[in-house]
C-alpha cells in the first residue's frame, strides 16, 4: 500500500519536473513548479522528516514559488527571443548524455549505500538531554552544529546585501517594489487586515513548539514574512527604505545576538556556542526568538527585491 502511494508520488514528481523543464511558457512552467514543491512535502513526510516538510512547504514551495511567479510575469516579453536561442541538437544530445550519466551514477550510489546505514541518531539521543530541548533537529541546529545555523543567518543577510546592491544608483536609499495603491474595498485589503493577527500567532507558535516538536525559527519566520508581504501587497503599508537604521538593526540583530551568546559561551561554558549547564534551553530560546524577526524581515525583503524608487518619485 505504501509502495503504491510512493510510486504514484514518484510518477507525479517526475512528470511535474519534466513539465517545468519543457513547458514552452515560463508561467505555465512555474505553475508546475509550485505543486512540484508541495508534492515534495509529501515525500519528506514519507521519509519521516516533518521539520523538513514544513520548511519545504514554507520556503521551497511557498516563497520560491512566489519569487518565480512574480519574475515570470515581468519577464514575459523575453520568452520568444530566449526560445530562439535554444542550443542546437548536438548540444542537447550531449547534455542529455551527461545528465543521464550523472543520474545513473547517483542512482548507483544510492543503491550501494551501506546497510545498516551509519547514523548519528544514537549520539544525538545520548546528548540531547544536556541541550534541554526535546526536538532533536533543534538540538542539532542550535547546539551540536550551531555554527552552521549562525553562518546561515549570515548567508541570508549577505544575500540581501547582494540583492540590494543591484539597485540603480538613483534609487539607493529608497524603497523596493511598486508604490502602494490601496483600494479600500479590495478583498485583498480585507484579507490583509484579518489574516496577520492569526498569522503572527501561528508564526510565534511554530517557533515556540520548535523546541520540542517539529517547527522552528525558519518555518515561523516564513509565516511572519508572508504576513508582512500580504500587508505590503494590499497596499496597507509600504516597504521600508533600505537606509533606515531600524531596518538594518532588525536585519543584523538576530545574528548579532547569536554571536553574543556564542561568545558568552566561550567565556562561561568553555567553548564558543556552548551553553552553561542548565541554561541551555533558555539561551536557545533567546537566540531563536532573536533570530525570528531578523529572518522574517530578511526573507520578506529578499522577495521584494532591490530598492527602486525614492519618496517623491512618481
Amino acid at each position: 500500500m505504501t509502495e503504491a502511494l510512493t510510486l504514484a508520488l514518484v510518477g507525479l514528481l517526475m512528470a511535474l519536473a519534466v513539465w517545468t523543464l519543457v513547458a514552452r511558457d515560463t508561467f505555465a512552467a512555474v505553475s508546475g513548479f509550485v505543486p512540484y514543491g508541495l508534492l515534495l512535502t509529501l515525500a519528506w513526510l514519507q521519509l519521516r522528516a516533518v521539520d523538513v516538510a514544513m520548511t519545504e512547504a514554507a520556503i521551497g514551495a511557498g516563497l520560491t514559488g512566489v519569487l518565480l511567479i512574480a519574475a515570470a510575469a515581468r519577464l514575459r516579453p523575453t520568452e520568444a527571443p530566449a526560445w530562439a536561442e535554444r542550443p542546437g541538437l548536438p548540444t542537447r544530445v550531449l547534455a542529455a548524455i551527461v545528465s543521464a550519466a550523472v543520474a545513473a551514477g547517483i542512482g548507483a550510489c544510492v543503491l550501494l549505500l551501506p546497510d545498516p546505514a551509519p547514523t548519528l541518531a544514537p549520539a544525538v539521543a545520548q546528548n540531547i538531554a544536556s541541550t534541554g530541548v526535546g526536538n532533536p533537529i533543534t538540538a542539532v541546529l542550535m547546539s551540536f552544529r550551531a555554527m552552521d545555523t549562525l553562518l546561515e543567518a549570515v548567508v541570508l543577510l549577505l544575500g540581501l546585501i547582494g540583492v540590494w546592491s543591484l539597485a540603480p544608483d538613483r534609487a539607493w536609499g529608497g524603497r523596493p517594489g511598486p508604490a502602494p495603491t490601496e483600494d479600500p474595498n479590495s478583498i485583498l485589503g480585507y484579507l490583509a487586515r484579518v489574516l496577520p493577527p492569526i498569522g503572527i500567532v501561528v508564526g510565534v507558535y511554530i517557533l515556540w513548539v520548535g523546541a520540542d516538536l517539529p517547527g522552528g525559527k525558519f518555518q515561523g519566520a516564513t509565516v511572519l514574512a508572508a504576513m508582512w508581504l500580504l500587508v505590503m501587497m494590499a497596499g496597507i503599508s509600504d516597504a521600508p527604505a533600505v537606509d533606515r537604521t531600524w531596518v538594518r538593526l532588525a536585519l543584523a540583530g538576530g545574528p548579532a545576538v547569536f554571536i553574543a551568546i556564542g561568545l558568552l559561551g566561550a567565556g562561561v561554558a568553555g567553548a564558543f556556542l556552548g551553553y552553561p549547564e542548565g541554561l541551555a534551553k533558555p539561551l536557545i530560546v533567546v537566540v531563536e526568538a532573536a533570530l525570528l524577526p531578523s529572518l522574517a524581515v530578511t526573507l520578506a525583503l529578499l522577495l521584494t527585491g532591490p530598492p527602486r524608487r525614492k519618496d517623491g518619485d512618481t
Binding site: 519536473a17 513548479f33 515581468r74 545528465s99 543503491l111
Partner: protein, 114 residues
C-alpha cells in the same frame, strides 16, 4: 523495493533532469527553475539518507535533516539573488540573453568528468 530506495532513485532522476535543464534552457529564469529541480533532487537524496539512519527512537537521523533545513534556506537565498539579477538585467538591457557576448552557452562537454 522499499520507500527510501524508490525515492532515492527518483531523486537521482530529478538531479539528472535539473542538470539537463540547467545546461540546455536558454532563459535564465528557466535555468533558475532547473537549479531548483536539481537542488530538490539532491535534498531528496539527503532525506533518504536520513531515513535510512533511523534509530534510537527517531524516524530518521536528525543530523542530515538539520543539514537539509540549512541547505533549503541557502538555496532560497541563492534563487532570490539570481532572480533579482535577471530582473535587473532585463531592466537595464531589455533582454535576458546570456549569450550576447563571444562566449557561448554553458559548455555541456565541460561537465564530462562528473
Amino acid at each position: 523495493m522499499n520507500t527510501p530506495t524508490l525515492l532515492g532513485l527518483c531523486a537521482a532522476v530529478l538531479v539528472g533532469l535539473g542538470l539537463y535543464g540547467l545546461i540546455v534552457s536558454p532563459h535564465p529564469l528557466r535555468k533558475i527553475m532547473a537549479f531548483n529541480v536539481m537542488g530538490n533532487g539532491i535534498f531528496l537524496v539527503c532525506a533518504v539518507i536520513a531515513r535510512r539512519g533511523a534509530g534510537a527512537g527517531m524516524g530518521g537521523d536528525p543530523v542530515p535533516q538539520a543539514l537539509l533545513i540549512t541547505a533549503l534556506v541557502v538555496a532560497f537565498a541563492a534563487s532570490a539573488l539570481a532572480v533579482a539579477l535577471v530582473l535587473r538585467l532585463f531592466e537595464e538591457t531589455g533582454s535576458t540573453s546570456l549569450s550576447a557576448q563571444a562566449a557561448g552557452p554553458q559548455p555541456a562537454a565541460a561537465e564530462g568528468e562528473v
